[in-house]
Symmetry: C2
DNA sequence: TTGTAAGCGTTATCAT
DNA sequence: ATGATAACGCTTACAA
């Protein structure tokens, strides 16, 4: 009968085969230069021969390093998040970091589970997007949990924050994005501008709404509450918002979306109702890739993903080498003008 | 001066505080029922008090379990992959598995690095999409590496394969998808049907091309090599293919894309050239989410993501409990008919 | 340049 | 119901 449990190959096995000590094997593993070239070769050879692969768990148990960073975001199928994520992954890889991606679906319990996993896995940093850090009023438990977490591991909040939680913050200059948007629309002659999507109590809406109102006032434009239609952040919610907007008599000539997705929904709703898209100018936010291929292609606010991700990774790098980073960083936006905005 | 290195809290610390043995602490950690309720409570209390979090590395070093599965895919920003990924993640989570996502960008060296990482991290299963497993002629090294990998850890190849590599395979019935597409177009009166996108030597093109030709022949339709324009898999490549196609005099009336993305590019190119979209019927493949919001909305082949991901997770589950799974599984497709196809 | 031995923080085995 | 002790597989002083 064959032994059905084949023993794991360890550095001890390699050591025995190569007639050296385990320490020496470890040295070649870690790239320690204090090894005679000939023995290094011998050890390497035996490793290949025995098909040896070092055990990461054992390694990080002794070194107390995991070179791992945890990344929580609401939903990777949303191009906004996948775009940020992949940039960070690429850059982190160059630094020798490996990422643990977790989708929260903006669900607080799921977030808690991920946070717990991250601490048990001893990640060296947590990047947090969405969910509780976008709530205007997070619960006490949510806050307390985050406080506990930041005691053990540095947290980078991206486009969000939490009161009295000590962490790094990187955020898009959403106010600027909205300001640029309004200025652009005004330059096209628009005087009646609406804002659809988002959820009250979620900061991205509150931030944008404030900037929207401020910009309108700066141009002495009408601030009509009926033109502000919160609904959500998805395509479907965008449709709903547009539907509600269209049910009114007095309509804006330009519509800003809390993000690109809701505008896709708005376009869809117009078509559904056989209302010409040309009745309105549309502006999104995020500049996710489909915005360049929908028709009309969408004018939208770009986050400068490259800079955003660079800043995230810069902090990670500093954490690694024990250097301080600035706690807050604001990334400016740029307006990408496409076909969906035109003179009124 | 404060001690700047705070000691890690271990089960020994908890044991001391609770005046029990580390073993008992470990027992409450693993949920072992052989612990008096009162001591369990005491231990739990001390854990909270000392802010203890078990060390996953130590745990998996002794248990030899990681409950981790590795997932390699080309690019998570592609909605096709993110859709599959998130479904798998969700279902795997319910099984107590955690996923390590890695983007390969279809780069063989990157794949190798990820595979190495996975084996060092002792993942219990690898899900592989794209890259080398879609090559008609993978290199010897690529094959050998995979052979080494499958010796140590089960691999599930999704929509790909590798000769003489012992692994699980799940694949979309691409042939059926193409057949359904052609049948649909024929039912609309189309007789001249083209196929754009893909790269020669990548199986998805070869498979689809074969099915396309077979279906055309079944209907006695013209198989015109000029209407088959390989180019790539991206929006941009779709534009290029369409450009090349449009440069010809004799044009098809219907165009099938290797995937949805290339059709987005094709639509864009038509608009760029001021050629009416209505001159053609378009069909994509994958049914990624933007296909419902582009205009005209895109008729396309859906992979049955739910079934696809369920089958992947089913295999993982079987591996976990040591049960055998069928080595191959084919998932049928469904044609989603939208606005981009119409009578000729 | 190489080796010995201790330690990392768990779980598993075997007693009691 | 609880405890002592030995793994697990590596790295790291410290020695030689």
């Amino acid at each position: 009968m064959k032994k059905d449990v084949k023993k794991n190959i360890t550095i001890y096995d390699i050591a025995k085969e190569a007639k050296v000590s385990p320490t020496t094997v470890s040295r070649v593993l870690t790239g320690n230069p204090l090894v005679k070239e000939s023995t290094r070769q011998l050890v390497l050879e035996k490793m290949k021969e025995l098909d040896f692969t070092p055990n990461e768990a054992a390694r990080s148990l002794t070194t107390k390093q995991t070179n791992t960073i945890g990344f929580i975001l609401p939903d990777i199928t949303n191009p906004f998040f996948s775009q940020v994520y992949i940039e960070v992954e690429k850059k982190a890889l160059d630094l020798g970091f490996t990422i643990l991606l977790r989708n929260s679906m903006s669900n607080s319990e799921v977030e808690s589970a991920h946070l717990k996993e991250f601490t048990e896995k001893r990640v060296e940093c947590i990047v947090f997007m969405g969910g509780r850090i976008n709530k205007v009023q997070p619960s006490e438990e949510e806050i307390n949990e985050m406080r506990e977490v930041v005691k053990r591991v540095p947290v980078i909040m991206v486009n969000g924050k939490m009161k009295d939680v000590n962490c790094y913050r990187i955020r898009t200059n959403e106010e600027e994005g909205i300001r640029l948007t309004v200025e652009h629309l005004v330059s096209l002659g628009h005087k009646k501008i609406g804002l659809i999507g988002g959820v009250k109590g979620i900061t991205s809406l509150d931030l944008k709404t404030a900037a929207y109102r401020k910009s309108l006032k700066a141009f002495d434009l009408e601030v009509n509450p009926n033109w502000q239609v919160p609904s959500g952040f998805s395509i479907e919610k965008g449709r709903e918002a547009m539907k509600q907007l269209l049910s009114q008599k007095d309509l804006p000539t330009a519509i800003i979306g809390i993000n690109d997705l809701v505008i896709y929904g708005a376009l869809k709703e117009c078509r559904e109702q056989n209302i010409s898209i040309d009745n309105f100018s549309f502006v999104g936010f995020d500049d996710i890739f489909p915005s360049d291929i929908v028709h009309p292609s969408l004018t939208t606010v770009n986050h400068n993903y490259d800079i955003l991700s660079s800043e995230i990774v810069k902090i990670i790098q500093n954490i690694k080498v024990g250097k301080a980073s600035k706690k807050g960083k604001i990334i400016n936006t740029k307006l990408i003008i496409r076909e969906s905005t035109k003179e009124v």
